[in-house]
């Protein structure tokens, strides 16, 4: 048996990432120069000593399935346990998509029971953070809790965006409100739960039998456990945590890696973030290149100017090209004289000579019209094209005739 099994909800579409999630689920989206979002919860599991992880997929699973493979890059290729991709499946009595987060776990009760765990850790695949789940589990055991919810103290003005927990002095949750207008606490749920399995199973079955339920962890399971006066505890997490569900937050979170004042360090050898790596040559910075405060990955060839930017594997920046305050995903080529500012460029793109993508905030008159420009995956942007601020590009940008 396993003491604790992790279930990672990775079926989300990530619709607010628009062009970037056209062909892949949000957890597969690239982050931080060589990672994908899912590398963070997976690496946290391994670093916390959890070696059995079910990954629940639904939306565009192909990329994610291939990426996870047998789990070897995370050391999750195990004889007993390891990583398992769990898509919805057909049963003798019919088949169902995952109707909600709770239903997704409900449909995989049999998977969990193969490991006969005492505890189940529920994670989501859309957050960037480093966290020792073992410490959270310790607290869960010490408090003899039925469920422990990781919480983050957020600024008061942001509290209405989150599920907010109100706790008594010993950390027991007395109230839970989803996105409250007038929050009476600033402890936001991080979407990370440890359940005592026996309890979770009972509530999952009850929830499934309730036709009114939306089968959602926050809205339904936690609310009914609270109503039944079960033992719900908050686990205070301190450190960097970011939901990268929007273009702005994805961009900001990448830029946070370049800010020495942000306490988030992917260079920490004690808490490595593992990923499936392409095998690329070392990176090459030419004598004409200018690189300032940036992060550059293997296989890149830089002959232009890079400033406050993140380049993923095998990106080519030709001479005279400029990349500022931007994120460029793998295998993209930026040709001579092209300029990229405040933009996210998807993987496998070609930005032709002289093209200009994105604008600086000060160059746009009305602040409402400014935003990060995004070029979707595998697109080309023609010579001398201009793609303005806040643009969301789904198709090749071709020359006007």
């Amino acid at each position: 048996m396993k003491e604790c099994v992790a279930m990672l909800l990775a079926g989300g579409q990530g619709s607010r990432l628009y062009a970037l999630t056209q062909s892949m689920a949000k957890p597969a989206v690239y982050f931080g120069g060589k990672y994908r979002i899912i590398d963070f919860p997976l690496s946290n599991c391994v670093n916390s000593g959890i070696d059995t992880v079910g990954v629940l997929t639904q939306y565009q699973p192909l990329e994610l399935n291939e990426y996870l493979g047998n789990g070897q890059p995370w050391d999750l290729d195990r004889l007993y346990g390891g990583v398992h991709v769990l898509p919805p499946y057909q049963k003798a009595t019919g088949s169902d998509w995952y109707k909600g987060t709770a239903n997704a776990i409900y449909q995989n009760i049999k998977f969990i029971e193969r490991y006969d765990p005492e505890y189940v850790l529920i994670l989501s695949g859309d957050h960037i953070y480093k966290m020792d789940y073992a410490k959270m589990l310790e607290q869960h055991k010490a408090k003899e809790a039925d469920i422990t919810i990781a919480v983050l103290d957020v600024p008061k003005e942001e509290a209405s965006r989150f599920g907010i927990m109100t706790c008594d002095e010993e950390g027991r949750i007395v109230k839970f409100t989803e996105k409250p207008k007038n929050p009476d606490s600033t402890l936001a749920s991080m979407g990370i739960y440890i359940f005592t399995w026996e309890k979770l199973k009972k509530y999952l079955i009850e929830d499934e039998n309730n036709p009114e339920s939306e089968n959602d962890f926050g809205k339904n399971i936690i609310t009914s456990m609270l109503a039944d006066k079960q033992r719900l505890y908050a686990y205070n997490f301190e450190g960097y945590w970011k939901d990268v569900g929007t273009i702005d937050s994805l961009w900001e979170s990448n830029m946070d890696l370049l800010d020495p004042n942000v306490p988030f360090d992917v260079w920490d050898k004690e808490w490595k973030i593992y990923s499936r790596t392409l095998n690329s040559a070392p990176q090459y910075i030419s004598d004409k290149a200018v690189v300032e405060n940036s992060m550059i990955s293997e296989g890149c060839e830089v002959e232009g100017t890079i400033d406050f930017s993140v380049l993923f594997q095998n990106v080519v920046i030709e001479e005279g090209a400029t990349v500022k305050d931007s994120i460029i995903m793998p295998n993209t080529v930026v040709k001579k004289g092209a300029c990229i500012e405040y933009a996210i460029i998807g993987e496998g793109c070609t930005i032709e000579e002289g093209a200009h993508i994105g604008e600086r905030p000060e160059a746009v008159e009305n602040a409402e019209n400014w935003g990060i420009a995004v070029i979707g995956n595998n697109l080309s942007v023609c010579k001398n094209a201009k793609v303005g601020a806040k643009a969301m590009i789904y198709n090749d940008v071709k020359e006007e005739k």
Partner: protein, 373 residues
């Protein structure tokens, strides 16, 4: 690309040429000498064979192979952790009174039974003393097409005197090797052997047993040279990128030569070169850093200035530090304000704050593993 080459067995000799750079091979084999920012010399042979579809590879070390074993592990990074074939390491073994295997001939004697038992028809023998991107599939194809007993890969090169005690020069006419000279001193461009041979398996096994019976121990001399004229020995000319490591200086120059796109492409873009994954973060170029003309592996953290250098994985360059024309191996640290120029730092060397260490382009300074300067 590669189809399976089930009929071919690869054999790699990690210790040949160890004596070329005693500084680096004191604690390791030539095969495990770090090269090019993230690789070790054996990666070229292993990746080249894998790219050619060879799935059955033997590595036969003689001494100092701890770092080699650690590097290749089960072979999974090269996709060689296989049930059929895959990577096999044959460390030397001796019974009372026997010597550890010597040279290629000794290594081959030790594994002759294994070679014989594999279902292959041809055997590729390769060393690790030259960084190159030979297309092994093409070599084997030409070998089979020509019906040769032995095919030797060579390149037209001008050898300097550092190579004079470790070279093979061929006289090739219409693809046939007519003469083979060992350690001949030459001052002109010659057909220089690249230590890559393809043999018909039966012939190789027979030759190994014959030499063993006669007490002959020099592979090049006793197995190949003696048979020039009697066997069909063909030459295969390699015209791609290569760098021969003959001493510390040529090691230094070969690394620094990678700081241009053509060299990088010549070595790394012919087929994927695999190596042990270390899960480092991307390179961080901090505010105030200045980097020009440099090749870097992942995990480096650069706050100072770097020019004309090769940085291996996890190298740190502190604030105000200057690194010029250097080869800094894995996890070397150049602390704040230190200056290094024409220096080779072995793994995990620490140049303490404010220190100055300067060699010349012809005589780089070498700092040994884990030393603190």
């Amino acid at each position: 690309m590669a189809t399976k080459n089930n009929k071919v067995l690869g054999i790699i000799f990690p210790n040949m040429h160890d004596e070329a750079i005693p500084e680096l091979t004191r604690i390791r084999t030539m095969a495990s000498v770090p090269f090019g920012g993230r690789y070790r010399m054996i990666d070229f042979a292993l990746s080249g064979l894998v790219a050619a579809g060879v799935e059955n590879i033997c590595v036969v070390p003689r001494t100092s192979y701890v770092s080699l074993m650690d590097h290749v592990g089960s072979g999974k990074e090269w996709d060689l952790a296989r049930k059929r074939g895959g990577l096999k390491i044959f460390p030397p073994y001796g019974e009372a009174g026997t010597k550890a295997t010597q040279g290629r001939q000794g290594a081959l004697e030790a594994i002759a039974d294994y070679i014989e038992s594999t279902p292959c028809e041809h055997v590729i023998l390769a060393d690790c003393g030259i960084a190159h991107a030979v297309d092994y599939a093409d070599v084997v194809e030409k070998h089979v097409e020509s019906g040769a007993d032995i095919t030797m890969v060579y390149k037209k090169e001008l050898l300097d005197e550092t190579a004079k005690t470790d070279n093979v020069v061929l006289d090739v006419r219409n693809g046939k090797v007519c003469e083979m000279l060992i350690n001949d001193v030459t001052e002109k461009i010659c057909n220089c052997g690249m230590w890559v041979y393809v043999f018909k398996k039966e012939l190789l096994v027979k030759a190994i047993h014959e030499c063993e019976a006669k007490g002959l121990s020099e592979f090049e001399r006793d197995v190949i040279q003696r048979n020039v004229g009697t066997l069909e020995i063909r030459g295969y000319e390699y015209t791609g990128y290569s760098r021969r490591i003959t001493n510390l200086k040529s090691f230094f120059e070969a690394n620094l030569d990678l700081i241009n796109k053509e060299s990088l492409a010549g070595l790394f873009k012919q087929y994927p070169i695999y190596t042990k994954v270390r899960d480092d973060a991307p390179v961080r170029y901090a505010i105030g850093s200045s980097v020009k003309n440099t090749v870097a592996g992942d995990g480096c953290f650069i706050e100072g200035s770097v020019e004309g250098s090769v940085l291996f994985r996890g190298v740190k360059v502190g604030k105000g530090a200057t690194v010029k024309n250097c080869v800094l191996m894995q996890d070397a640290i150049v602390e704040d304000g230190a200056v290094v120029e024409n220096v080779i730092c072995d793994k995990a060397v620490r140049i303490t704050a404010g220190q100055k260490l300067i060699g010349t382009a012809t005589h780089p300074v070498y700092v040994e593993k884990r030393a603190k300067v």
